[in-house]
Symmetry: C2
Subunit: 497 residues, 2 copies
């Protein structure tokens, strides 16, 4: 078959092959977390390493740079050009680092993370720093290389791996704004909530009933069980492939809300994946836009919908049916439980009001760390000061629930944290835009009609996939780039309204 775009066609076929092989990789990753018995670990590791090496060879194949250059000169439509842009981005990320650096990083990360698993419970900051030192040094090396290649400043170049186009300049503006009003807002909300009574649910909550409830709520949220499943793993995540999404959760007999709201969160990730443009799957343009946009979907589900009084009124009877009637299961009390604000040490346990404080704190520490302005020795004092300033919490000496609480730094995921809060902000921005387009949105949600929400997300986010850079996606969806005012307005309306 002759074609006017031979280089572009060759590239799409390479990416299709990558897509097929990544399917097996993703499945094996999910199985590792959800099913695999312990003695399978070594063989699984060897199999995944073989596949990683194979994919790496394909992504660094020496014919690719020429094809990418020639495709630039071919006559492509807008969609193809967007696809080519994303191919170039992926190619760059796979090719910019020398093999030796990648190997040293893998070694250092795995050593650091492995040791962290026992150092954290032992509150062993000095031991942790000893390993983290090398991870940081290699991350700085990576940042310098990425920066030289992209022209971005170092931290921007690191962030670009997860959130293309995001910069410190923009983050400083956005987080700087949030920093102004957040501590005051937290105090106001706590003051208001201190005058409300709240009834605690009485367990135990049998796990099989929790699972059935989670599946009911996933169905309510439109998750397609013909194209995905819910399973159990220690650390909940959304895995698998767009054609077959594997969500996991974990159950505790004495608490059903954590698992339920976690499942709502992962269902948001899952529906994004399930609704990426099907006819383009396999091509980079059909992949989810970025980490912040992905998080904007999970938080649209968990926070915008999950904490919406109209949605909670739909949940309440399902909860009562699952575990039997209890005073705690009234719609009003359930809403209070779900929207309870309480500053704490631990990011992953934080509510949506205090969560940004955790992220801003980390951003303000990891940015200067990467840029060489501070050292690991400086972290505890900075952490303690910021925890007090932002959340009023005394964290001194508590390394395990302080700078050692996350796996991210051990895993060299510098530049990732901001995505969580950017996602929350985008989610608020999406819902503000939805309400402008659909003035009766809240009435419809309260009536159990979620179709307008899903329709808007499908059209503006899911189907857009990676067609546009994030800023352009936001502009098309909501008329403006990222604007944290919507997040503030959302919190004020929900928590002080």
């Amino acid at each position: 078959m002759s074609t006017a775009t031979p280089a572009y066609e060759a590239l799409t076929s390479t990416w299709n092959r990558l897509h097929h092989l990544q399917h097996l990789q993703a499945l094996a990753g999910w199985d590792h977390a959800a099913n695999m018995p312990p003695k399978g670990n070594e063989a699984r590791g060897a199999a995944l390493a073989e596949m990683a090496a194979l994919l790496h060879r394909m992504r660094t194949d020496t014919t690719l740079p020429g094809q990418l250059q020639r495709a630039e000169q071919e006559t492509l439509d807008d969609l193809q050009r967007a696809n080519l842009r994303e191919m170039q981005r992926q190619w760059r990320l796979s090719n910019v680092l020398p093999e030796s650096l990648v190997q040293r990083q893998q070694l250092a990360r795995s050593r650091c993370e492995h040791a962290w698993r026992r150092q954290r419970p032992a509150n062993d900051w000095a031991g942790y720093v000893a390993n983290q030192q090398e991870v940081l040094a290699l991350a700085r090396e990576e940042a310098a290389l990425l920066s030289a290649q992209t022209g971005l400043r170092k931290y921007d170049a690191m962030m670009d791996r997860f959130e293309p186009g995001m910069t410190c300049a923009q983050l400083d503006r956005v987080f700087g704004d949030v920093r102004q009003w957040l501590p005051g807002l937290i105090r106001q909300v706590m003051d208001k909530q201190s005058r409300e009574t709240m009834i605690a649910p009485v367990g135990p909550f049998p796990q099989e009933r929790q699972r059935a409830l989670c599946e009911q709520v996933m169905a309510l949220l439109g998750f397609d069980f013909q194209a995905g499943r819910l399973d159990v793993s220690t650390h909940p995540f959304c895995g698998g492939v767009p054609e077959d999404v594997r969500i996991t959760t974990r159950f505790r007999d004495d608490d059903f809300l954590t698992s339920l709201m976690g499942t709502v969160h992962e269902t948001g990730h899952g529906r994004y994946e399930q609704n990426l443009p099907r006819d383009l799957l396999g091509q980079p343009v059909a992949e989810a836009r970025s980490m912040a946009v992905h998080e904007s979907q999970s938080l649209s589900f968990e926070m915008q919908l999950g904490g919406h009084p109209g949605f909670v009124a739909q949940l309440a009877p399902l909860v009562a049916r699952a575990f039997g009637e209890q005073p705690a299961f009234s719609a009003e009390n359930l809403h209070r439980l779900i929207t309870r604000v309480k500053p704490g040490c631990i990011r992953v346990d934080a509510d949506e009001v205090t969560y940004p404080a955790h992220v801003i704190l980390r951003y303000e520490i990891e940015r200067p760390l990467i840029e060489g302005e501070i050292e690991l020795e400086d972290v505890p004092a900075l952490w303690d000061a910021k925890m007090m300033e932002l959340l009023g919490i005394d964290s001194r000496g508590n390394y395990k629930d302080g700078p050692m609480q996350d796996v991210h730094w051990s895993a060299a995921l510098f530049g990732y944290f901001p995505c969580y809060s950017l996602g929350a902000m985008y989610a608020a921005q999406w819902f503000a835009s939805m309400r402008r387009a659909l003035p009766d949105l809240d009435t419809r949600i309260a009536a159990g009609d979620l179709a307008p929400v899903f329709g808007w997300l499908r059209e503006n986010v899911w189907q857009a996939a990676s067609r546009w850079p994030t800023d352009e996606l936001a502009r098309r969806a909501s008329g403006e780039p990222l604007n944290p005012a919507h997040f503030k307005a959302h919190l004020e309306a929900r928590y002080l309204g």
Copy 2:
């Protein structure tokens, strides 16, 4: 690193890579049957096709023939030489057929099997033959090519894919012998059993309790749950990889014995895989010897142990504990249920006494089919005559429970059926050899001590893997090659003793 065996070393490293990639293939196959939601099918199919193509390229790499030849000249020890022999065998099986034939076969098989799924319930023999015609023609083409390459006669060459070294000459002797005494034995056993009373278990049998019972019995049988799992699929099988064995079963509320005994069967396959020589995994010499030897393990568990009165006496209290006491759950009655002999149309539902009749019938039809001595049109009359002769069953006009009952012919698995009965015969031979070595074997089994059985199988079969051809394996394990007299003695002792 310099080595005296560079070609051999290169080959082992290729086979290790194949092993790693086949791990992901096996896992995806298991997941397809045990977990995958329907809409995941297309993407999974594409991913598996990509992997199959990749593995095919590796197995047909043009450097392999030279390496295989050069390795022949290198100084190898016995184990390495056995490994090289198995490499050559695998290389031959992957390289003998032209690509175009393989593709036509895949198409014809998939068309035939797909249509068979609705033709079988409709008893549509004419429709089935229309598709099966092409599958058979291509299988004959394959047989001719394999025959030319190996010097074996056509059916032997087809059987060699599953049971290396087995020939029609040997089968005619072995099955010819069984054919002499089997119909008479069946009549005698039925006559004896007609005078015994048997109490039917009363259901329902809740599936969660069935699962727990199956897992208990797997544990009793030494299955390593740190290196494997039990899951549910429509068609039970033993999949996964030696390092992580995935057994499946299916549950029916009104019957627990089928699932329980099926699980015992798959556990036999599973323990063989789990106990292949660990330090050699990845190399062909460490793979299971053959289909008949594999079946000899599942049948050692399901038939030799599963129908052993001493073992059934261990099962009985577990069954009673799972479902509550019932008169049907006495050890004696349970043993009668498990060892009940009843001729029927369906092979997969057959007991161990009538089962060989089903296999002999198929062998006597598919051998002349492959060798071009008969055509598909001749099959029904032959089938009916042999069903009457061997089992006293009138099968006329019942194609769906007759020649259309198995998937094997649609899938072109000509030469596979004999392995089932060869497996039953080897199993009887292994236990006869065990009893010679351990005169108190049956007392120990009755006392719940299965260690001698597992120890014998580990040493003589599991750890031997593919080190020797099957005949040599049998000779080392039992002092003689395949001898069906042990099978006859086993049936007579158990059913007429």
